[in-house]
Subunit: 335 residues, 4 copies
Amino acid sequence: MKAWVIADNFGIENLRIVERAEPQPGPGQVVVAARAVSLNYRDLLVTRGAYNPRMPLPRIPCSDGAGEVTAIGPGVSRVKVGDRVAGTFFQKWIVGELTEATARSTLGGDIDGMLAERVLLSDEGVVPYPEHLSFEEAATLPCAALTAWNALIGGHLKAGDSVLVQGTGGVSIFALQLAKLMGANVLVTSSSDEKLARAKELGADAGLNYRSNPDWEKWCRSETGGVGVDHVVEVGGAGTLERSFKAVRIAGHIALIGVLSGAGGTINPLPILMRSICVRGIFVGSRAMFEAMNRAIAQSRLRPVIDRTFAFDQFPDALRHMERGAHFGKIVVKI
Amino acid sequence: MKAWVIADNFGIENLRIVERAEPQPGPGQVVVAARAVSLNYRDLLVTRGAYNPRMPLPRIPCSDGAGEVTAIGPGVSRVKVGDRVAGTFFQKWIVGELTEATARSTLGGDIDGMLAERVLLSDEGVVPYPEHLSFEEAATLPCAALTAWNALIGGHLKAGDSVLVQGTGGVSIFALQLAKLMGANVLVTSSSDEKLARAKELGADAGLNYRSNPDWEKWCRSETGGVGVDHVVEVGGAGTLERSFKAVRIAGHIALIGVLSGAGGTINPLPILMRSICVRGIFVGSRAMFEAMNRAIAQSRLRPVIDRTFAFDQFPDALRHMERGAHFGKIVVKI
Amino acid sequence: MKAWVIADNFGIENLRIVERAEPQPGPGQVVVAARAVSLNYRDLLVTRGAYNPRMPLPRIPCSDGAGEVTAIGPGVSRVKVGDRVAGTFFQKWIVGELTEATARSTLGGDIDGMLAERVLLSDEGVVPYPEHLSFEEAATLPCAALTAWNALIGGHLKAGDSVLVQGTGGVSIFALQLAKLMGANVLVTSSSDEKLARAKELGADAGLNYRSNPDWEKWCRSETGGVGVDHVVEVGGAGTLERSFKAVRIAGHIALIGVLSGAGGTINPLPILMRSICVRGIFVGSRAMFEAMNRAIAQSRLRPVIDRTFAFDQFPDALRHMERGAHFGKIVVKI
Amino acid sequence: MKAWVIADNFGIENLRIVERAEPQPGPGQVVVAARAVSLNYRDLLVTRGAYNPRMPLPRIPCSDGAGEVTAIGPGVSRVKVGDRVAGTFFQKWIVGELTEATARSTLGGDIDGMLAERVLLSDEGVVPYPEHLSFEEAATLPCAALTAWNALIGGHLKAGDSVLVQGTGGVSIFALQLAKLMGANVLVTSSSDEKLARAKELGADAGLNYRSNPDWEKWCRSETGGVGVDHVVEVGGAGTLERSFKAVRIAGHIALIGVLSGAGGTINPLPILMRSICVRGIFVGSRAMFEAMNRAIAQSRLRPVIDRTFAFDQFPDALRHMERGAHFGKIVVKI
C-alpha cells in the first residue's frame, strides 16, 4: 500500500510516495482505509521540521483523516469492519485533562499519520462521525473542528455571548460555524472583503477588513457597546495577542490556539492581570470532546467548509496552497 | 390609577379593580407604566391562596410585566424616563446565588405585582428588554422565559445535548425555543397531536403524545440510542419525576421547576443515587441571568409564543383560561 | 486459593469458604494478593440479595480491598509485581462521568469481589495508595472514602463552608475527615454522646445527639446563623431527606449517598424547587477521583478510622457487626 | 481629622499629613474610624505615580484598612455603629465578575483611600471581619489576602493539589496559609534561607532558595514526580512567567497577580498553547469572595503574618521599608 512520507530530510521537496507493507491489526488495534485527509498549519510546520526538529524520519504526515475500518484485531469492540471513522489527533487522550503521557501520542507527529492508503490505529483512537458527512468533510474534524469546539465549550460560551474569530482559516471557520449553532454573536476579521462576504453567508454577524481597518480591537469594542467581546478565538499568537487583550471585555476569555504570526514573538502580559483576563491554551481536544462535538454537528447538520480538494499525488501542491494562506476553510487530499 | 387586587379574600371571584394613588418615586425608585402582564401558574396559586395562605390582602397580583418608565427618583442612573423595561421577578436577586434575604422580594407575592396602570419598583428591579419585542412579548420574559433559561444554562447544556420538555405550557415552550437556539436536540411530550405539530414548527426534533403513549420514559431512551436524555425540564413535579428518573441518562440533569401535577405528591428518591442524577431546583433566576438571556434573545430574534391576549378587565377570564390548561405558550393581559 | 462466596442462595447463612484455582493474568490483567477488605452497607445488601436479586451465584463478595500485585499479564505497564494497590469499585470507570457501560463493572456486584486470597483484575482497575497506610487502612478507601470525596469535591466544597455529616458510619467519618482537611466547618449528628465525643476528637466542630434532640434541622440552622448548612452528606435516604431539605441553606447542596433508613421510602420533592436546592446522587467515583483523593490523603497523612478488624474466617461475624449498626468508622477483614 | 495625602506631586517625598473636615454620611453611606491600614506594592506604585500618572491630586492613599463604624447614613442596614469592618478594595464589585463599571471604584486609586482617621464609604463597601483578628490583622485582608484567595479558589484548587508560591511578600504568605488550610501541597521559593525556614513554620511543605538554585522550575518538577505543579501563584510577572510555564503541569493553572519584576517586560506566549496552560489574571476580588474568605479564616483561626507595624506619622518609612523588599508578610500602619 502507498503512503506519503517525509523522507530523508525535512522540507516539502523531501516528501515521497513509498510502498509499505499492509498493516495487520494486533490486540486492540484497527486498520482504517483512509479515504481523505485534511491539512492543518501544523502539517506544514511538521514537514518543514519547524514543529519538532528531532522527529525521527521517515514519518507519514497528517494528523487528520477519515476512512473505513477494514480489519480489527482481537478484543476490539468499539468499532467493526465497515464502520466509517475519523482518527483522533491524540491517540491516547480519551477523556479528562491532557497529561504528559497522553500528550505524546499525536498522529503525524509523535507517530505516523493518516496520509496512507491503510493506517494502523488503536481502537481507542478512532471515532464514528456524523452520517451526513462525506469522507472529505469528516477528514476536517479531528484537529481544526475539535480545536474550535474546545476553544468555545472550554470557555463556557453561552447563547448571546460575543466571539471574535480571526481570519478565515480552518479553525476560524469552524469556530464561526460552531459559535453560531450555539447562539453566539460572531465577529470576523479578514484581509479580504470577499472572504468577509462568504463568512457572513455562513452566519457571521459582523466583519471587518483589517487591511483597511487595522484597529480591529476598537471595532470589537464598538460592536459590543464599548464593553469588548466575551471570547477571542486567538489564532495569530504573539503578533495579535496584545490587540486581543484590548478587544476582549474585562474578565473575558481568550482561547490561545495558534501562532500564525510566528512562534518567536513576545508580548507584555500586564493586561492579563489589569483586565482579569483568562488566557487558555488550546491543544486540540480529547476523544470525549470529539464525540460531544459530533453530536452537535449531527444535530445541526453542520457542513465543514472545504476550500479545495487535491488528489493523493498532489499532496505537495496542497501544502503549498496552504503556505500561500489564501484559502477559506479546509484543504483536503483525497486518497 | 387602576389596579387589580386580590381583595378581602383569596379566589378568582374576589379579584377587584380598584383605584389607587399615583405612585411617586423615592430615592432609587422608578415608576413604570405597565402595558402588559403575562400569567404564570403561580399567579393562579397566589390568587387561590394556595401559594401563601398568610399573604396579606389586598395584594396586586402578577409577577411578570413590561412597560415604560414614566418617572425616576433621586439617584437613579440605571434607567431613564421613556425606557422600555420588564420588572424582575425577585426585586432583590441581582447576581450570584439566591439567598434567604433576596428570596423574599417577589413581585405579586411578597410585594404588590405588575397588574396596575403604574407600578413603583426599585431601579435595581427593572431590566431593558430586546428591542424587537412588543410589550406583550416582553411581559412573558421575567418568570417563564428566565426559568427555562436557568434550567438549561444552569445545567450546562451544550450544543448536541438532548432535552426533554414536558408539555407546551409557558416554561416548556420557552425551554424548547431556548434549547434550540443553543443547538440542542429537543424532545417534547404533549396530550395533543395538534400541539405537538406546533412544537415541531417551533423546532422540536421529536414529539410524543403521552395520552396514546404513556411510557414516555421509554420513548426518551429509544430516541437517544438507549442512553436517556441529557436534561429534563421537569414541570410536573411528583407526578412525573419518577418517570423522569428513567428518562434521563446516568449522571444526567433534571431541572425541577414545577408541580403542575400537584404539590403534595411524593416520590422515591432512590434512583437519584443509583443513577447518579443531579436534581436541581429552579426558582426563576437573577437579574444577571435575565440580562444574559436578553442578549441571547436579541441575538437570535426569538419571539415568545403568545397563546391569547386578554383586555385589562378580562383578567379573571385570563386566569380561568390558564386554569383549563389548554393553552400553548403564554397568556397575556394588556393594560 | 481460598475465597468467600455467596453460595447457592442469598443470606449470611449461605456464605461459604471455597477453594478456587489460582488466577492467571491475561493481556492487560493483574493478580492481586488481597490482604484486607473493608465492608460497606452495600455488601450486606448484596449478601442478603436485596441489592440485586438476579445476581448470578456463587459470587465472591466485597468491593473494597487492598493487597500486593503478584503477577501481571502481557502489555501491563500501569503497575508491576510488588506494588501495593487497592481495587477500584467500578473496574471500568476511569475518568469523566459514569455511563451505562462503565456502571456495570462493580466489584462484588457485577463481577466477583475482593474477598479472596488472590483476585484477578484489569490493570486499569487498580490504584496505588498512599504509602503511610497499612493494608487494612487502604482497604477502606475504594468505596467509603471515595464516596465521601466525590460528595464534597463534586459539590465544590470550599474552605469555610459548613457540612452536615449524618451519623458515624464509614462514609460519614471519611466525610468528616476529608471536609476538615479542606478547611470546612463540620457538624455531626449521632445517636450516641460517646460517638459525638470521638467525632470531635477527629475534628468535628459541633455535634448533636439526635436521640435527645430529634430536630437536627433546626440545630443546623442555629449553628449557621439561621442560614442552613452549605452541604449535607445525606446517608439516610428517604427517612432523613425531608429534614435535610430544611437543614440546608437556600441554593445549598445535598449529596445523596445512602438509604440507611430504607430503600422504599418516599419524600415530597417540593422543597427542592422552593429552596433552589441541588440534590446530587453519588455513586462512589471514578479512578481519576480516587487518584486525586489519594494525593490529598498522602498530603494530609489522614488515617482511616477502623472500628474493628476481623479474621478471614470471621467474615459472617463482621457482616453481623455491621448489621447491628453500632460501629464507628470502618469494619475490616484481614486475609 | 487627619489624613495622609499624596499632595501636589507624586513621590514619597510629597506625602503630607493634612487636616480634613469630619465626613458626614449621606444615604447609604457609613463613616469608619480607621484604626490600621496595611500596605501593598500597589500603594508604592500609586505614590510614585507609576500606577496611574493621571490620578488627580491630592489623594488619600492606601486601599486596605480596618476600623470601627462611627456613623451611618439614612437607609443603611448592612452595618451599625460600633461594628468592626474592613473596607473593600473595589467599592462597587459586590458579586459575580468584575466589569468596566465596577472596576473604577478602587480605594486609594480611583477614590480616596483608607489612610485617614475617619473614612467615608458606601455601606456596600465594608465587610465585617473574623472576630479573632485585631485591627492590624484585619487591615491586611482586603487586597493581599483576597487576591490570594481568588487565585486559589478561582483556580479550583482542591486538597492534595500542589501550589508554587513565589517569595514571601504579603500575597505569597497568604497564598501559603490559605492553600495549607485547603489541604494543598505548598512549595515556596525565596532568596533567603531564613525566610524559607519561617515559611516552613507556617506550613510550607518544601522550600528552595532561588539565589543558590535559580532553576526553580526544575525543582518544581522534581518535587511533583516530574509532572509540574498544579497551580502557580505568579507574583513576579514577565520576569518569572516563562519559568512558571515550565514549572506548571500540562493543563495546569497560573494565577497572574503581580509584576514585581517590572511592568514593561515581555514573554513568549507559545508554551501556553503547547502545554494547554490556563493563565488567569487576578485583580483582587469581589465582596462576596471576601465574605467567603472570612468564613474560612474564622473557621481555621488563621492569623495574618505582620512583618512590622509603623505609627501613623511613620507612613513614609513604612513605604520605604516595602521598597527595600526585605519584608516577610504584611507591613501595617496604625492610626
